[in-house]
């Protein structure tokens, strides 16, 4: 289990990194925390010609809260996001979800941007940023562009990132008054990939759900806003929302069937909404 041969660069500036990515195109991989990439290299499932190590580029891990927008640098470590008072204040969903992300040693190295760029369908962070209506700021040698999370995740390990692009930061609208966040997940062991996970943001008007945002992980091959279930939840309640999950395009498998994942998504939605009652 040794990686195939690759070249390695450790640029000290963002411009240097973007120039390398532009030059190498699809042959380059970005090394941030390495918690998914290194095993894939060792299994020779990933075979980049060049690793662009972004760990020495200053500023890529900043976390700020300004004018109602929480901005998290792509290289912010899970552990730093998890313990950030700004994140706790503006996006408590992330804090709840990060407790499910692997284990402390992995969270010490793994990054938010790495998790989003990998787009593992079972990963928690893509569902969270989708649920929260975040915007991903992408950079390339030719400039920056902004992509809503809702249109960033395209499939299993597939995103809107183009060759030569990297995620720079994530902008998350801070939680507004009256809203509540909940993240729930079912996995075989703590820290394992989700069999199903649910990110929920909700605002109630008395007992009634007035507004809701729902995203799932571990269920469909790409996370997305569950707009039909959201509408049903607001209009007719949690049973109706669960009914809408019948239409999920859930992943199958020998161990966990599509029906199993849909069942778990319903269990989680009932628990998440019920817990807010």
């Amino acid at each position: 289990m040794k990686p195939a041969r690759f070249d390695y660069a450790c640029p000290g500036t963002l411009g240097g990194a973007l120039a390398l990515l532009a030059e190498q195109g699809p042959e380059a991989s970005i090394l941030a925390g390495g918690q998914s990439l290194m095993p894939m290299l060792n299994l020779r499932m990933a075979r980049p010609a060049l690793l662009v190590d972004i760990n020495r580029i200053p500023g890529l891990d900043a976390i700020t809260l300004l004018d109602g927008v929480l901005t998290i640098g792509a290289r912010a470590r899970h552990a730093d996001v998890l313990t950030s008072p700004l994140v706790q204040q503006a996006a408590p969903l992330l804090i709840q979800a990060l407790h499910h992300v692997a284990h402390p040693a992995i969270r010490n190295r793994g990054t938010l941007g790495g998790s989003l760029a990998l787009a593992d369908p079972a990963a928690e962070m893509p569902a969270c940023v989708t649920c929260l209506g975040a915007t991903l700021v992408l950079a390339s040698a030719s400039g920056e562009r902004r992509v809503p999370a809702a249109s960033f995740f395209l499939g299993v390990y597939a995103t809107a990132l183009e060759h030569g692009e990297m995620i720079l930061r994530v902008e998350i609208p801070a939680i507004r008054p009256g809203w509540i966040h909940a993240f729930l997940e079912v996995s075989r062991r703590h820290g394992d990939y989700a069999m199903a996970g649910l990110a929920l943001a909700i605002r109630r008007d008395g007992a009634h759900v007035a507004e809701a945002s729902i995203a799932l992980c571990g269920v469909e091959s790409a996370t997305r806003r569950q707009t039909e279930a959201e509408a049903a939840l607001v209009a007719r309640g949690v049973d109706a929302a669960c009914d809408r999950f019948a239409h999920l395009d859930a992943m199958g498998g020998a161990e966990i069937t599509a029906a199993h994942r849909i069942h778990l998504a319903r269990v989680l939605l009932r628990r998440a909404v019920g817990a807010q009652d």
Partner: protein, 792 residues
């Protein structure tokens, strides 16, 4: 009669931490991969990516041309340097297991089977070269599902076989048909046990150094039985045994994984002989999960007959074992299945037994002896039937067990399954178990949790284990396995004692147990005893680590050697002190008189003997090195007994099971060191919880591809899956030995799966779900509850 004069207030029985702990936790352990050899080459194996395929190696030139590559070797290249082998056993006449070599030739019969070997300057270069080896693969139909492996029309696992039946037998005693005909109650269940594997922290590793000038092979490897490997490597490489040295330094766990002869390890030794260079190979985790032995794949159809008074009359068991592509060398995989069928019913009295066994070849890695070999399956089968019977009778499951336990007065007794039961303490163990659990209080707690709507269950299992196998077990089978041990003790000039033992330290702590035995036998504190194990050049031949044998057999050899040394010390001291040996004793490193008054320290005595021998009286030739070899003459196995309880909570919505608490009371005879035994029990229980709830080697039902090759897919129990395990003991020393120790290391694993399975069924019983499959995954539970549709 054995010399059983254990000193009062001795070291045996004290809960001492092991002396090696500090070294290991400070990271000072030296495992195989921590050793480097000058000029070494790194090996990597090309392994079959298919469960069954014909293949032709079309070209090695590109791989050989890669800078840093020393050799690319195939079966033909190694053949002149290494014999092939075939697993045979007189215990299993007619066993079908084809000839095997270090690398496959023409045909691969399981995924992960080694087919070529690259030697290079680094492992990375070797792996690069593997990609350049040209192989033409012709995939063949693969047999993986044990339930269909024996069906007519299933393709053969090996070319030329007419069926996949590796071996079959039927045995038993008593009139089973009559027993079932007159039974007031018959309970029956079909059990499915899924393959899993032991996962030692340190993967299998080997560093082989052949010295062409000395014509000698030195092999450092991570193994449980270095002396066994010495025998087999000498045979396979055609070397005198004295010119094969096997050294197992620190070993990071074994669990039975490291007690076999693996083709890759033999290939590495042959490659060193071929090249004249040291060759290192460290198994990757993915290779380990795929191609280390698996175990425990059985489909068991079992029924039990009970009379109107609730007494067990008979068992009738049909077992199909998924054996793998070969019967493991040298001990054979069939041993596991026989252990299953000998364990059924073991704690109880019954009068008729019928067992039918079919061992099925499969295009899967061979199975082999894994911790508590076969017992967890026999135990789960029995204990589930017992719970079903108790439930059918509407009575407490412990009461049913109490009524049916084999009475002490009947022992020794050979039961209808052929198991000889001796010196078991079911009555005392049950009493201690009830005391430890405080059952009325515990049952009230369970009731209170249920009243809150929690889905909790309490399950029990009774355990009988066959431990510390005697010489006839493999001896009658014609398999060269040492069931004896050798210990050599030496008094050093400083009065310190050095012991060399053929037992193997694999993390279980047996070195500490032996040190405490030697300390008491000689009369010195344990801090003055140093022990060496694991090196065939250091310790004479013996059995190593398997069958929970270290304390019962190695301990006995240590006691014998220590007593011989003490006798020699007393004889010499008597000569110097103008006394008699009978009037002296050795205590705490001092020769003392009858009143306990020190007369001479061992340091004074030893330095006199070694450095001032001219002061000794004439005719005195002290023998300050003593050797004792021990084999048990009676009792094929030492049976041990115990009880376990598991409290679990099931989430009926998600199907997740959380073990809340676990209890074990065991009787493993004399405890050499209760701390070590307790932790062996706890570790064993956690391994059993993994077996019950998490671990599974999965194969794609369509193409037979192995699906659980990483630790994200093969789920081991982790710290937060381990409940508190409360451990209690009953001590019934084995009467046939000086120390009275029996096997302890596997009991936790034996009974935990059964207890957890019963607990889950207890939790779900009121919801009409009944589970008879391990592991109990969320899918299994949701299907049993009807939440998910049953498997197709």
């Amino acid at each position: 009669m054995p010399d059983t004069a254990l000193p009062p207030d001795g070291w045996i029985g004290r809960p001492m931490p092991r002396a090696a702990t500090r070294r290991l936790i400070e990271g000072r352990g030296r495992y195989t991969d921590d050793n480097a050899a000058k000029g070494e080459l790194h090996a990597a194996f090309l392994r079959s990516p298919f469960p069954h395929a014909a293949f032709r190696i079309t070209g090695c030139d590109a791989a050989r041309a890669l800078p840093g590559v020393r050799a690319v070797l195939t079966a033909e290249d190694l053949a002149p340097f290494c014999r092939s082998w075939r697993t045979q056993s007189l215990a299993f006449p007619g066993l079908v297991s084809p000839e095997q070599g270090p690398l496959a030739r023409d045909r691969a019969v399981y995924q992960g089977e080694p087919v070529a070997l690259v030697l290079a300057a680094s492992r990375a270069v070797a792996e690069d070269a593997l990609e350049l080896v040209g192989v033409e693969w012709n995939e063949l139909p693969a047999v993986t599902d044990v339930a269909h492996a024996l069906d007519a029309g299933t393709p053969p696992v090996h070319q030329g076989l007419s069926s996949n039946l590796a071996w079959r037998t039927e045995f038993g005693e008593g009139d089973v048909e009559a027993a079932f005909a007159k039974a007031a109650l018959v309970v029956e269940e079909r059990f499915t046990f899924t393959r899993h594997t032991g996962v030692p922290l340190e993967a299998r590793s080997v560093l082989a150094t052949y010295d062409p000038a000395a014509e000698a092979l030195e092999v450092r490897m991570s193994h449980q039985i270095p002396h066994q490997m010495q025998v087999h490597l000498a045979e396979l490489l055609d070397l005198p045994m004295g010119r094969v040295r096997v050294i197992a330094g620190d070993v990071g766990g074994g669990f039975g994984i490291k007690m076999h002869v693996y083709p890759d390890e033999v290939a590495v030794c042959a490659a060193s002989r071929l090249t004249g260079r040291p060759v290192r190979y460290v198994c990757d985790r993915i290779e380990a999960l795929m191609a280390d032995i698996h175990a425990r794949e059985h489909v068991v159809q079992a029924r039990m007959a009970v009379d109107a008074e609730g007494r067990i009359l008979a068992f009738d068991v049909d077992d199909i074992q998924g054996l793998g592509a070969y019967s493991i060398y040298p001990r054979s995989s069939t041993v596991e299945a026989m252990s299953v069928l000998r364990t059924v019913g073991a704690p109880y009295h019954f009068s008729a037994y019928r067992a039918r066994l079919r061992c099925a070849l499969q295009n899967k890695v061979p199975t082999g002896q894994y911790r508590s070999v076969g017992h967890p399956i026999g135990c789960a089968t029995t204990e589930r039937l017992v719970d079903l019977a108790a439930a059918a009778r509407g009575e407490d499951p412990l009461e049913f067990r109490r009524r049916n336990f084999l009475p002490e007065a009947m022992m020794p007794w050979t039961n209808p399954a052929g198991g000889r039961m001796a010196e078991l303490s079911h009555t005392a163990t049950l009493a201690e178990f009830e005391r430890l659990l405080d059952l009325p209080k515990l049952r009230a707690e369970v009731a209170a949790m249920r009243a809150e709507g929690r889905c909790v269950g309490l399950g029990f299992s009774a355990v009988v284990e066959y431990t510390a196998s005697g010489p006839a077990a493999y001896g009658r089978a014609g398999v060269p396995v040492a069931a004896m041990d050798t210990v050599v003790v030496t008094l050093e000039p400083t009065g310190d004692v050095v012991a060399r033992a053929s037992v193997a330290e694999i993390g279980q702590g047996i070195q500490q147990g032996i040190v405490q035995v030697v300390a008491d036998a000689v009369g010195v504190p344990p801090s003055r005893v140093t022990i060496h194990t694991g090196d065939t050049a250091n310790a004479p031949h013996g059995g190593g680590a398997w069958a929970s044998r270290g304390a019962a057999i190695g301990g006995e050899a240590a006691w014998g050697a220590g007593r011989k040394l003490q006798a020699e010390i007393l004889k010499t001291a008597a000569a110097l002190l103008q006394s008699t040996p009978d009037a002296l004793d050795v205590r705490d490193g001092q020769v003392v008189d009858a009143k306990g008054t020190p007369r001479m320290s061992l340091a004074e005595l030893a330095s006199t003997v070694f450095f001032r021998g001219h002061e000794l009286p004439g005719g005195v030739q002290p023998q300050f090195t003593a050797t004792h070899q021990f084999r048990r003459e009676e009792d094929l196995f030492l049976t041990t007994n115990g009880l376990q309880a598991s409290l679990v909570e099931v989430d009926p919505d998600t199907g997740l099971v959380t073990p809340l608490r676990h209890w074990v009371v065991g009787d493993c005879g004399r405890l050499l060191n209760p701390l070590l035994v307790d932790e062996q029990v706890r570790g064993g229980v956690v391994q059993g919880i993994g077996e019950a709830l998490l671990e599974a080697c999965r194969y794609d039902p369509g193409n037979g591809q192995f699906l659980t090759g990483t630790l994200a897919d093969y789920l081991l129990p982790m710290a937060d899956n381990a409940p508190d395990v409360t451990v209690g003991h009953v001590e019934t020393p084995y009467s046939g030995s000086a120390l009275g120790a029996k096997g302890a290391g596997e009991a936790g694993t034996c009974g935990a799966p059964a207890a957890v399975l019963n607990a889950v069924n207890d939790a779900l019983g009121s919801r009409g779900a009944r589970i008879s499959e391990l592991p109990v995954t969320p899918t299994v539970i949701l299907r049993a509850l009807g939440t998910l549709e049953a498997a197709e």
